[in-house]
């Protein structure tokens, strides 16, 4: 039987472990494609701890998507080391690593020839879950992302709206309960209203499920809204890594420019209101 003191002790130990052992860690990572002269990212170092949502913010071509793909070993670093759960990605079995990492891309990247249920149940079935358990999990996830299981399970991605596809994409990434979620501009192609509602649902979801997430976007509003930390990237380098509050007070030129766009659109909103 556990005493309350030992329980507190365990909790503390776990917390310190979480602080000391980040879920994702980049150690002086550079990456360049074989033929290219300029590295896509250079000397990247940062940590993502359990429960955090790191948003990588930057314009297209700044290396933020590459950074994401280094985490689930779609790319291997040219120099330095990427560690996931304390182990270098080069030491991970890529298949194991990827099945422990949820991945969401724009438009969901759903398989057009699979039903919604089969899309969501993909990783569980690859992991050898039995049919009954997979089906339960699929229904649970559909409800979680706000889609009625009876109505949607049998449909094909082609029969869904963009927002619905994105919800299925998120559900698929969560299916095998991975500790880590990677999201590459998942809401980029959606209309503003759908995007707003998916963003708020995402906040709720990550809080509730205590997921760790790395989220790539070029939308500063989205970054401020979703991130527990914001990493500002430019030409393959990480300029700063701060909380949203710190970001708002940043003196960095690029950060200021981003904040400026925010002000402009807010002003516009006030004028029109």
């Amino acid at each position: 039987m556990l005493t309350s003191a030992s329980r507190t002790g365990k909790l503390l130990a776990k917390m310190s472990a979480a602080v000391n052992n980040p879920l994702v860690e980049f150690r002086d990572v550079s990456f360049s494609h074989a033929a290219a002269t300029r590295p896509v990212i250079s000397h990247l170092s940062f940590k993502v701890h359990e429960g955090e949502t790191l948003v990588l913010l930057g314009e297209s071509g700044c290396g933020k998507t590459t950074t994401l793909k280094l985490i689930n070993r779609l790319f291997l670093p040219s120099a330095g080391e990427v560690r996931v759960e304390g182990m270098a990605t080069t030491d991970w079995d890529p298949i194991r690593l990827r099945r422990r990492t949820g991945y969401v891309i724009q438009e969901g990247g759903l398989f057009p020839h699979f039903t919604v249920a089969r899309n969501i149940g993909l990783v569980p079935s690859l992991e050898g879950w039995d049919q009954e358990r997979t089906k339960q999990r699929v229904d649970e996830l559909l409800s979680l992302v706000g889609l009625e299981p009876l109505e949607f399970a049998g449909r094909y991605p082609g029969e869904l709206s963009g927002g619905q596809r994105q919800r299925v994409g998120v559900a698929r990434a969560l299916a095998a309960e991975p500790p880590l979620l990677l999201l590459d501009e998942p809401f980029g192609a959606l209309d503003p209203l759908t995007r707003a509602s998916l963003q708020s649902e995402f906040i709720e979801l990550t809080r509730r499920l205590e997921k760790t997430a790395v989220f790539v976007t070029h939308d500063v509003r989205e970054a401020l809204l979703l991130g527990s930390h914001i990493g500002l990237m430019h030409k393959g380098e990480l300029l700063q890594l701060e909380t949203p509050e710190e970001f708002r007070r940043s003196k960095n030129e690029l950060a200021l420019a981003y904040l400026e766009t925010l002000k402009l659109s807010e002003d516009g909103a006030e004028v029109s209101a």
């Binding site: 890529p94 990827r98 099945r99 990492t101 398989f111 057009p112 990783v123 690859l126 049998g154 082609g158």
Partner: protein
Amino acid sequence: MSFWHFLLQNWSELLEHLREHLSLVFISTLIAVAIGIPTGVLLTRRKSLRSSVLGIANVMQTIPSLALFGFLIPIPFIGGIGARTAIVALVLYSLLPIIRNTVTGILGVDPNVREAAVAMGMTGSQVLWQVELPLAMSVIITGVRVALVIAIGVATIAAAVGAGGLGVFIFRGIRQFDNNLLLAGAVPAALLALLSDFLLGLVERRFATDVRKTKRSRSRRRALAVAAIVVVVAAFAFFGWRQVEKSLGKSPASDVTGARVVVGSKDFTESAILAEIVSQLLEARGVAVERRFELGGNLPHDALVGGQIDVYPEYTGTSYTAILKHSPITDPRAVYQQVKQEYADKFKVVVSEPLGFENTFAILVRGAEARRLNLKTISDAAPYAPKWRAGFGQDFMSRADGYPGFSKAYGLKFADQPREMDLSLTYLALSSKQVDLIAGNSTEGRIAALDLFQLQDDRHYFPPYEAVYLTRQDSLARVPTLAESLGKLAGAISTEEMRQLNYEVDANKRGQAEVVREWIKKKF
């Protein structure tokens, strides 16, 4: 005779050739799919191989089919005559569309979808089987569709290497100048192509994923596609199995005597009739006969020497010049002796006694023209040649005793370069005034029927062409009745008789088996 009447009469033979055709196409397409799809997949993985392999497949398809058969025949194991050669050729033709579409289909899969599959933690083979192949399937099936239609078309030419199929009707129809026969081969082949194209089209739509599908049309389409697959597979399986059964099963006659003889023939009526005569005589003695008739070009010779047939009818002049490559001489006895001696030495082949008639080249003009200009000999016609066009079979154009020597001997110059066409079409071309002079066969039944006139070879240019049977020595030793049957035919067929037999088949459109049966009854 109407086409329908003809079909009713020849129903069982039509079904037989349809069956042969289907099994050729089915087996070759199956092999092409089994080779082509994995090759295509490999090419998507090995970019460096792609252009060279696709290039080779491309070249394969540009080789004219008859030429390809020609290349294949002398090659051991895959070559020779019969279904095997035809299947090899059909596979080579079918490969390109299947490989190309597999490559195109897989490379055409949305890169985002492929990346998602990898990022989900699928292994390489899971990505291939669960994502790439299903998404590429409709494009791949388009390739199979194209391959199938090509194979159905090319398989008609397989008849030239003795593989049977609907081409047998087509070749015979051209030769006998019989539209019903032509149509009996061409119409089912065309329908077969359309039907398989349609059925595979249904299957292809089943796999199309880019269209927005609704549940209802999806299930209906699935039902249609399943039905289509079932029909195709059932038809092929049924026909294919019967074919296998047939080739495995031994004919009862061979069980009785243990003797089995393969009789070949060249691809014209007279040769087929002569082959049929010896076949029926053997069958009357209880010997099982396999007929490999209507083999093109030098195929019968190659097949005889290669041991794929035991006996076929030949002409001494042809052997002397075309096979033994001697310059033409005019003494029949000398030619016969020389051929007999050299065939025994070189090929271990026995030349039978002459059958009693000659089939020499007959230089023919229209009867009306001959009467108007009062032509009797080739020399009479020579002055008119500059205003005439000539049409010759491929054989006559290329052989040693053919056109080059002939035109030199008579000092002939025609208006244009002579037209080279299928021998059996030249008679028709002459009577319909497409050409003015042809080199036909002297025993051709249609000479009288079409009112054609044979000009006399007054300078004795053409060597003697006595009809004989050529038989392998080991076949004679193995089947004693063979020598006996051939002996009966020595000097037994006069030129008039041969012309009459040809006429019955070519002009009166009667089956050669029936014509031969009557003749044997009357004769022996």
